[in-house]
Structures are given as C-alpha cells and as structure tokens.
C-alpha cells in the first residue's frame, strides 16, 4: 500500500475489533492483517502499550491443554475508541473532499 500507516490508526483498528468481541493474540493479528499491511510482529508492542495504558485487560482461558490469552477492551478503551473514530471520520472527510474533487473535472 502506498499510504503510510500511523500508530493512531493501528490503535483505532485494534480497539474497534476488540469492541466487537474479545480476541487472542494470533486471531487479532490475523484480523488486523486482513485490512492493514503490517508485519506479524507489529501488533505485540501495540497491544502491550494499550494494555499498559489500561485500554485493554487480559484474561487466560485454557484451550486444548494450553493457554490462550484473551484481550478485552475496558471502559476507557471504549472512550478512546470513540475519540479516535471521531477524529478519523473528520480526517477522512477532509481527504475525501480533496481526492474525490478530481474525479468530476471533465
């Protein structure tokens, strides 16, 4: 993809996915990778940071004799998500108004 991906957008995507349902590291990474061109190792530091900021919590659940660590969004995580979403919509609209403006020229 030619467009650069910022940390805020990555945070927003992770929070959005977790706002829908809890997920464990591997599935979360795959979900984000469906929409964004990130390497598989990009997500862990992001999750760790969001967890430290108390936007996410974790809980463990056994699965086939081993452990799965699930991530769950917190109340402040939801607030952060809404804040980021609003900013994104505003930003997207501005970019759209410029980019789409070129189409109707002729």
């Amino acid at each position: 993809m030619s467009f650069q991906l910022g940390a805020a957008l990555l945070d927003a995507c992770v929070l959005a996915i977790l706002a829908k349902e809890d997920a464990y590291g591997y599935s979360l990474t795959q979900q984000v990778r469906e929409v964004m061109d990130i390497s598989e190792s990009t997500l862990y530091p992001v999750l760790r940071r969001l967890q430290k900021g108390e936007y996410l919590t974790t809980y463990d659940q056994p699965f086939q004799g081993r452990n799965r660590r699930y991530y769950r969004i917190t109340e402040s995580g939801r607030a952060k998500y809404e804040e980021l979403l609003e900013e994104w919509l505003e930003y997207k609209q501005k970019i759209d108004s410029v980019l789409l403006g070129g189409i109707n020229r002729e």
Binding site: L5, A7, Y24, G25, Y26, S27, T29, I38, S39, E40, S41, T42, Y44, P45, V46, L47, R48, R49, K52, R66, N67, R68, R69
Partner: protein, 199 residues
Amino acid sequence: MSKEEYLKELRQKLKKLPNDEVDAALDFYGEYFDEAGEENTEQIIKKLGSPSLVASQILAEYAVKGLDNEASTTKKGFSAIWFIILAILASPIALPLLILIISLVFALVLMFGAFIFTFFTVIFALVFSGIISAIAGFAVITQHWQTSLFFIGIGLTASGIGILLFSPLVLVTKSASLSLAKWLKRLFDKITRGRKEEK
C-alpha cells in the same frame, strides 16, 4: 530454527528489559507459535522476521512508553534514549547503515549532553565564584570597607543570577531530552516499518 531456539534468542535480545516485560513478550510469542501450529513454524518465523527485529520493536515501544504522561522526567528521557539505542542495535539493519545510524545518534546525544553540561558548569561557576568573591569581600572589611562592599555586591549578584537560572535550565533539559527521545523513536519506526517485508 525451531520454536524453542527462536524464543531463546528473543529472550536473549530482550534481557535488558524488566522481567515481567520479557515474560509477557515470550508468553505472547510462545502462544503465537502454538496457534499457528507446529507444522507452520518455519512459515511463522518467516512472517515474524528474525528475533532481532521482533526484539527491536518491543524495545523501541518500551522506550517511549510513559513519555507522554505528566510525570515525565529527564531521567525517563535519557533512559528512553538508551533503550532506543538498544533497539537500533538489536534491529537487523545492514551493517554499514547500522554504523552510520549509531554514529549519528551517538553524536547527537553527545552534543546534547555537552550543551547541557556546559550550561550547568557556567551556572555552577557563577554561584561558586560569587560565594568566593563575597567571602573575600568580608575578609577585607576592616581594611577598606568600600572594596569590601564592592566584592560582596558582585559576589551576591553572581550567585543570585546562577541560582535564578538553575530551575529554567532544569526544565529546558527535561523537555529537550524528552523530545530527543521521541524524535529518535520516530526515526526508528521509519527505519523498521519500511523494512518489515524483507526476508
């Protein structure tokens, strides 16, 4: 490379971090390998990149974590700079480029340190020489009170200026070290994100 070897190397590269950080990262990647399935180990390693790359991303993120909250201090700024240097060292960048980047960062940090050191030295010298001058003034008070007054006056003025300048300088040092750390993190992100798909 097996999963165990990979995780062992990752632990090795992360050892400068606090234990709970290291354990959390290894738990995550251990689970990651398990989820992908044993038969896909090789493929996952290819997708994740080398343990060095994974470690450098964790180190860089750790470096700036907490720089944004209000309790930021000069010490935090400097430890962040240190962790970013570690992150750059851990990242699998071609050697000549690595040497170039490290020397640039090193020169920058050194220059910054020298600047700060100079300012603190000047302030210290002002206060110290001020005190000496005042003491010398007192010493000659019985011989020539005009001279005495002159030296005491100069001494107190110099000390006063030094003391006045001290806290603004501490503030400047603090914010400058924090912005230097953030700037280095951005530089690091640019280098590693651009290289993520490389084998």
